[in-house]
Symmetry: C2
Subunit: 410 residues, 2 copies
Amino acid sequence: MSGPARVTHASTRAAVLDLIRAAGVISRVGLAGASGLTGGTISTVVRGLIDEGLVAETGHAESTGGKRRVMLQLNHFARYAVGVHLDDARITCVLTNLGGAVVARISRARAGADDPATVVAAMAREVDAVIESAGVDRDRVLGLGLVSARPSAHDESGRLLERATGLPVVLDDDATAAAIGEHWSGGVGATATFAALYMGTGIGAGVVLGGTTYRGPSGHTGEIGHACLDVDGPRCRCGARGCLEVLAGPAAVVARAREDRALSRAAGLAGGRTRAAAPVAADFAAISRAARQGNPRAVALLERSARYVAAAARTLANLLDLEVLVLTGPSFAIAGAVYLPVLRAELDEAFIARDAHPVAVRLSPSAASAPAIGAAAIVLQSELVPRRQGLRLPDDLAADEPPVFRQAVR
Amino acid sequence: MSGPARVTHASTRAAVLDLIRAAGVISRVGLAGASGLTGGTISTVVRGLIDEGLVAETGHAESTGGKRRVMLQLNHFARYAVGVHLDDARITCVLTNLGGAVVARISRARAGADDPATVVAAMAREVDAVIESAGVDRDRVLGLGLVSARPSAHDESGRLLERATGLPVVLDDDATAAAIGEHWSGGVGATATFAALYMGTGIGAGVVLGGTTYRGPSGHTGEIGHACLDVDGPRCRCGARGCLEVLAGPAAVVARAREDRALSRAAGLAGGRTRAAAPVAADFAAISRAARQGNPRAVALLERSARYVAAAARTLANLLDLEVLVLTGPSFAIAGAVYLPVLRAELDEAFIARDAHPVAVRLSPSAASAPAIGAAAIVLQSELVPRRQGLRLPDDLAADEPPVFRQAVR
DNA sequence: CTTTCTTTGTTTAGCAACTGAAGAATCTCC
DNA sequence: GGAGATTCTTCAGTTGCTAAACAAAGAAAG
């Protein structure tokens, strides 16, 4: 009945590399068992990886009655990748090694101007600084991942940054990047079905299904910020009513807090006069601080938000049969301690398939820089995992054929 | 920038067959273009399919300046499949040809007893009847798909039915089956990302992402009936509050209608005395009839339900970046006319990625028998599309390896 | 210490599926 | 009735895998 399950993969080399990364340390026999490939194939593939310097042998395991297994692991410092997270308010830049571990990190508030040239110049400076500070040979840097809330809006920045740094640039969504970062750095299993719930100024989710990142036909996946939690709720900028973001996003929490005089004073909020992005983040941090220090109004506000987020998370888990949910992003980095138990309770008690398996809810160990780390991980994936082979779909078919195909993206 | 997108597939033969099915009529050159394979490969694969009798040549296309293309299409009557939908109240059984078109159909109310032996005997009778009534050679029937709301509960029935009919049986979820049915019978594109919203007694969704059915790690995907639409709503049997099913499912609609004396009389409802399943379906039908005849209270009830369903559908579309949403299942077969415009409006006005692409909302042309048709389509897929090749994941790894893998299901 | 058995890892031949290029067949247009 | 265009087939060659034999390294038993 439950024979060996199978998972398609881009290429054997990439699959084996991925297994080694996910396992940390593993033997050839372990790889054969885990991949379903024969020992012979593993032998050849591993030799290639060792020749390329990507993998190294690291001692022996205890004998299980015969010859001892030679253990393998990633040669973590063979290659590097840069990840840049372009937030509303900050530029965060990391350099990671092959294992996705952060080697160097810079985070700086964004200077005033918003035109691509200025932003790109700032980013390029940080990138150079981060590579230099780690003393890494530039030839060993595979590329640069640039992630933001609306990647399509930064197409030009990407091109400019490519020229400015001399590194190949890939663009992606910050929530998706965060999910890939969690996946790559091994917190979740290689074939897990999971989501990274990302809370910055807005709320989004990166989705990985059975080990494969799901981006959707137009790259607009995981818009959990616009999950409906009240059909009669307040109107949202998306046109609908009762969206999670409007009911319980950081901006909503801050707005409510500002209406509360006592809390505003106690937490030292910036008040409603100043501009949008930066103050929201700052005030949300202030509220979280107040909550940590036991201010009951702050706690109540955050717990109210958490209830909504938990309901949306449950909806997501029920729709996708999630195994793992990781909380990440700047806002969870600050207030995760409040949200975590509420989400855990909700999913323990009300996940519909809980008899089949639980949903493990975890706080990302590096929630604040998760998108940047993920951006680097995307580079590692896209450079080390060769293009996914398969069957091409045409952008357009000959006119006499019925138009049955839609364009698949990325 | 946007080069030819690629899609992985189980096997070339299956991929080509799938392309032919999706296209209806297509030439070898068309297949080469659509699949990315070379003409040579297509030539050999097609010859094999023709030899097997699955595909036939059907005349020529107009010349485009050289030799005319020989057009190919499925040999629809080369093979058949049986689909059985085991509902709370009914057994629906269809025989479809290779194209997923219904050749014969029987639907009968379930007799009283619920023990597997009795149910299987009843199903086997219907299966025999449906095959015989169509005068189809039993050797040409590939197998039988048995779908229900909780397939795992019918494991034994499956085995018994296999013995009783002599046909290989596959089990699946009714909502997933409905989605596959829509996909196979060509209503949506071959690589579409879409969901089939299934409303019977409960509400579920079958999900197809980029042409591939998504079932989730434990087969519990698309539980949209337990999407939260009111964090303070009434308690649901799943343990949570404000689930779509409790707020707006057929049972909820019927319960509200029964509280309304005037409506109960006007629609001739069965009343609250009788048992659960059958009366709910009957009363929901009665309410829908009343609505069609202009009863304002009935209309209001259904429109209220539709608002909730629409909000859940929007949530689903926003999470998965859906391109198409198909309404299907017995309840939409009856009341789809009320729900359709409400869902259309919601997704036209509030789908977050509507600037990138719309979400097409459609009513299934065969909503009542969609699960049964889908059940047959699953057989067609699983028999014609050989086992998906790839890398095996172990059920268990050696004890000394870190437990990074989870079992992938189906 | 020697023998036997187990387990790990490598090598080899062979198979299946695909590509690329050459060529045959069929049609249009001049 | 060529010349060129297009479709389809054929075939040699490449790739990536498996199966099976083999070599190497250790454990267990005498």
